[in-house]
């Protein structure tokens, strides 16, 4: 492979150095938000600083043992983002008297422990391919859970949550991973079949009807989420994930065109039929109309307040702890990007988005480098889903597209999202390890499926 480094180096020391920098960013930010509080840097601060340091360095140690060729940039990026999120949530706690910071720290610990467990026990992402159809079943169960009476909870008009023992959890976040595993497994096994058959209409090579099964399945799942869970953001992200994976599997633009047509039709119909979609679109297009602004449900008050906050920050930001991000509803979860934009300014927000861009790029780089089709599909799909999630959230907050309820990965307060995204990181780390590991030491040849050879096609 042309991307293969001539001599593969583990680069774990680079990672350690970058981790120190990343921790300095997160912990430094947290120190700044309580600068004018007394006592400055209280026990909460130290708990958070020490816990975060211990946790991410334990991942670092796990990587040294289990996946020493893993990409050295991914973990520091995620550490910096998670640390910044903790700092901003803590800062908003100070303003509002909430206690979201402690909860977020608990979830961070849980998520990082889960990541360590995945890295330690899974060792090689290709193992997951065995669970292709189990993943499908798990995904279905996870997506249906919130609709089970007595278990599901409707929060702010969306049925995304389940309540277990007083804790809310968003199973859809985990379903993002299991569905990606299913599609990667299914497409890597069947891509030859799908590729070979099909009519050519003009410049487009149309797929056979029976091969369009996965596409329709994806479409149905997305529409199902939109209709039953009433969540536009997740629906859009799932569909984008499927599209990207189908495109990568087949390299056919025709699939993308077909997919876009399908989502356009579905989205248009949904906007016509379901009031919650129409309200979101109206709140986006007519955000500055008084009746839309003042509307109790589906109004634009939240987005407009977020825009005011970001404008208040301007180029340089007010400085951490100096703005009023607490004026924006859901400032520490859905709108955390507006909070960061207000206090860190355009420059700070650019830096954060660049971190995401870098993370996505490293993920895609891992997908390029790995030799198995399953890994390529999974890595590319998960990375692209991350990019889509950023686009849906930040695009919504900056009024590029309608605002939907997706969380900002690693930053926003919310346990399920944190857990799911850290597991995504674990998978990307494993794929990158496989990609950068010298070929001769490649493990478990027996595990590679029949489609592995297909990778060697141009």
């Amino acid at each position: 492979m042309s991307q293969q480094l001539p001599v593969a180096k583990p680069r774990r020391n680079v990672e350690a150095l970058l981790l120190v920098l990343a921790l300095a960013v997160g912990i430094g930010a947290n120190a700044m938000v309580s600068l004018d509080k007394s006592p400055w840097m209280d026990s909460d601060f130290w708990t958070q600083a020490i816990l975060l340091t211990v946790l991410v360095f334990s991942i670092h140690v796990v990587l040294r043992i289990r996946a020493k060729y893993a990409d050295p940039v991914i973990l520091p990026i995620v550490t910096a983002l998670n640390g910044l999120g903790l700092a901003m949530i803590h800062r908003l706690d100070i303003a509002t008297g909430e206690g979201a910071g402690g909860k977020q720290l608990t979830w961070t610990a849980l998520a990082i422990v889960a990541t360590a467990a995945v890295l330690w026990f899974l060792r090689d992402h290709r193992v997951l391919r065995r669970f292709t159809y189990i993943s499908l079943v798990v995904s279905a169960v996870l997506l249906i859970l919130p609709l089970v009476p007595g278990l599901g909870a409707n929060i702010n008009g969306a049925n995304l949550w389940i309540v277990v023992g007083g804790m809310t959890f968003q199973p859809g976040e985990i379903a993002k991973i299991t569905l990606a595993i299913f599609f990667a497994g299914y497409l890597s096994s069947n891509r030859d079949l799908i590729l070979l058959a099909g009519k050519k209409v003009g410049p487009l090579q149309l797929p056979r009807f029976k091969d369009m099964g996965p596409l329709f399945a994806a479409w149905l799942v997305s529409i199902g989420i939109l209709v039953f869970q009433r969540d536009m953001g997740s629906s859009f992200m799932f569909f984008g994930l499927f599209m990207a994976m189908i495109y990568v599997a087949t390299s056919r633009v025709s699939w993308v065109v077909l997919g876009l047509v399908l989502i356009a039709v579905g989205g248009f119909a949904a906007a016509k039929i379901f009031s919650h979609v129409a309200l979101r679109v109206d709140g986006w297009l007519n955000a500055f109309t008084p009746e839309v602004y003042g509307r109790a449900s589906g109004g634009s008050g939240q987005i407009v307040q977020g825009l005011f906050g970001m404008a208040n920050g301007g180029l340089l930001g007010t400085g951490l702890g100096q703005g009023r991000p607490d004026l924006v509803p859901y400032a520490n979860s859905d709108m955390i990007i507006a909070s960061l934009g207000e206090e860190l300014g355009l420059i700070g927000l650019f830096a954060i988005v660049l971190l995401y861009l870098l993370l996505v790029t490293r993920g895609i780089r891992a997908a390029l480098g790995t030799r198995d089709a399953f890994g390529k599909l999974l890595g590319c799909g998960l990375s692209f889903a991350l990019a889509l999630q950023c686009f849906v959230v930040i695009g919504g907050i900056t009024r590029l597209i309608p605002l939907t309820g997706l969380t900002t990965p690693f930053l926003a307060a919310g346990g399920s999202s944190l857990l799911a995204n850290w597991i995504v990181v674990a998978l990307l780390l494993l794929i990158s390890d496989a990609a950068r590991r010298p070929y001769s030491t490649g493990p478990l040849e027996a595990d590679l499926g029949p489609a592995t050879e297909a990778v060697k096609l141009p």
Partner: protein, 485 residues
């Protein structure tokens, strides 16, 4: 497959490019538009929570920012000391109901946002500090202010203005009923809303302006000073002119007549000179003058005293211009000449008119500001006395002064006599409909030969006896207090 992955990456890059574009638009290009949006209350809130400059009288703060107690989203709480005495001057700064009084008019100085503090602003920007506001020192004398407030009985509506006629400096300015401005500045929105709904319906409380500068009252006989000045400056009358003084003047075009003041000594003579007419506050001679000179002459003299005019830029309070009506028929003109019908004046207007007479016909700009001091306590502005307008000639003002001295010495305002000091004064009683209730006025100054202090008092909705007790005798106490300092 790798080519497709690269294409996917390109799409991801495109999505991020859109994000960068969105952020750039919001945080760079649309900043001004978003900041100026009427729904954007961030500037106000920030202002509300910041430390503001102090407003001081006699070296003591009457409005100051103190650090908030724990659990408050704001860093500072505005605190008003002696709010009942100063509510009409400081006004308040409320998160939901806006700013009033000096809190509104001196905004740029109190926030440190004024041009004079540019250097301090730049320094604090580099040090990363919040710019500090200026201190506003007032000309108010806290002792006189407290005395004036105590002279209006609780439950009585009234205003008192005490000022220096030579400089225009306000020495005291109070009104009752008053209210606690701290209630409006609270950081608890529901407590503020409750206070607002209770205060807004209390008669006499003006939450958005000071009663002394913003509320209009019928001036009654005090307005005869305008007629007198108009008469003398017309050239048709002089100090010895003899005026008809019938017990009642039939109003042209109606079947009612304008009677003389019942309680005075007007009925002793059917003809009067100015001295007698003013001493006894007879109505008919002045109605006669107005009908003789015509409404333009009276209106012009009223304008020269400040009716219908603003109060100049030194009075940093919302000011309602006083009114002399236009397009009057003869009956209305006769009534207007004695300060009835639609003639309306603020207590401050009456004080300014009196100050012009005291100051050789020259009206000084009313002024509340003694000094503005930057954060380093160095004064950057100390307003000097400025002429607002010339109301009449020195000769005419001297003549009117001598008649006003008679009013106190031997006339209707004898309650204002101060032993050893010559006091010039004029009372007024404006009827408020048929119920026998009146606005009772006193305006005057002392010493007559070298005026140091002008006192104007109005008590609203009183019977004649109570009104007489609450005006001239209180003026005496205030004049004594100011002169004996």
């Amino acid at each position: 497959m790798n080519q497709a992955i690269r294409s996917t990456w390109i799409v991801a890059i495109a999505l991020f490019a859109l994000i960068f574009g969105g952020i750039t638009y919001v945080q760079f290009f649309a900043v001004d538009e978003l900041k100026n949006n009427p729904w954007n209350n961030r500037a106000l809130l920030q202002n509300f929570c910041n430390e503001r400059g102090t407003i001081l009288v006699g070296g003591q703060p009457i409005a100051q920012s103190v650090p908030s107690t724990n659990g408050d989203t704001c860093k500072y709480q505005r605190q008003y000391n002696n709010p009942l005495l100063y509510s009409g001057i400081t006004g308040f700064f409320s998160r939901s109901f806006g700013q009033t009084g000096l809190e509104k008019q001196m905004e740029n100085d109190l926030t440190g946002n004024t041009d004079q503090l540019f250097y301090d602003r730049v320094v604090s920007m580099f040090l990363g500090n919040q710019p500090k506001g200026a201190s506003v020192e007032l000309t108010i004398d806290p002792k006189i202010q407290a005395l004036a407030y105590s002279l209006i009985p609780d439950g009585q509506r009234g205003s008192i203005v005490v000022m220096n006629p030579k400089t225009g400096n306000i020495i005291a300015m109070v009104s009752k009923p008053s209210y606690d401005t701290n209630l409006m500045a609270s950081h608890n929105p529901s407590a503020v809303a409750k206070a607002w709904s209770q205060l807004k319906d209390v008669p006499g409380i003006s939450l958005y302006n000071s009663a002394a500068t913003g509320d209009l009252y019928s001036p009654g006989s005090v307005f005869k000073l305008v007629d007198t000045a108009a008469a003398l400056s017309s050239g048709k009358y002089n100090k010895d002119s003899v005026l008809p003084n019938p017990a009642a003047l039939p109003l042209p075009g109606t079947n009612v007549s304008l009677p003389n003041y019942l309680y005075g000594g007007c009925s002793a003579q059917t003809e009067a000179d100015f001295a007698f007419a003013l001493e006894q506050s007879c109505n008919t001679p002045f109605a006669h003058i107005a009908l003789d000179l015509g409404q333009n002459a009276i209106a012009e003299q009223a304008r020269k005293f400040g009716f219908g005019q603003d109060a100049g830029d030194q009075l940093k309070l919302d000011y309602t211009p006083s009114v002399f009506p236009s397009d009057l028929n003869q009956a209305q003109l006769a009534q207007s000449a004695v300060g009835q019908f639609d003639v309306k004046a603020t207590p401050l207007q009456i004080a300014l008119m009196t100050a012009a007479i005291a100051n050789n016909g020259v009206q000084m700009k009313p002024n509340l500001i003694k000094a503005l001091r930057g954060p380093d306590l160095r004064p950057y502005d100390e307003p000097k006395p400025e002429v607002l307008r010339t109301s009449t000639t020195p000769e005419i003002s001297k003549q009117i002064t001598s008649w006003m001295t008679d009013v106190v010495d031997k006339g209707i305002a004898s309650g204002a006599q101060v032993p050893g000091v010559e006091v010039a004064g004029k009372t007024g009683t404006a009827e408020l409909g048929a119920g026998g209730q009146n606005n009772s006025w006193f305006t005057g100054f002392a010493p007559a030969n070298d005026p140091q202090v002008v006192v104007s008092i109005v008590m609203q909705d009183v019977d004649i006896r109570t009104g007489a007790q609450l005006t001239s005798p209180n003026a005496k106490k205030l004049i004594e207090a100011v002169l004996n300092k």
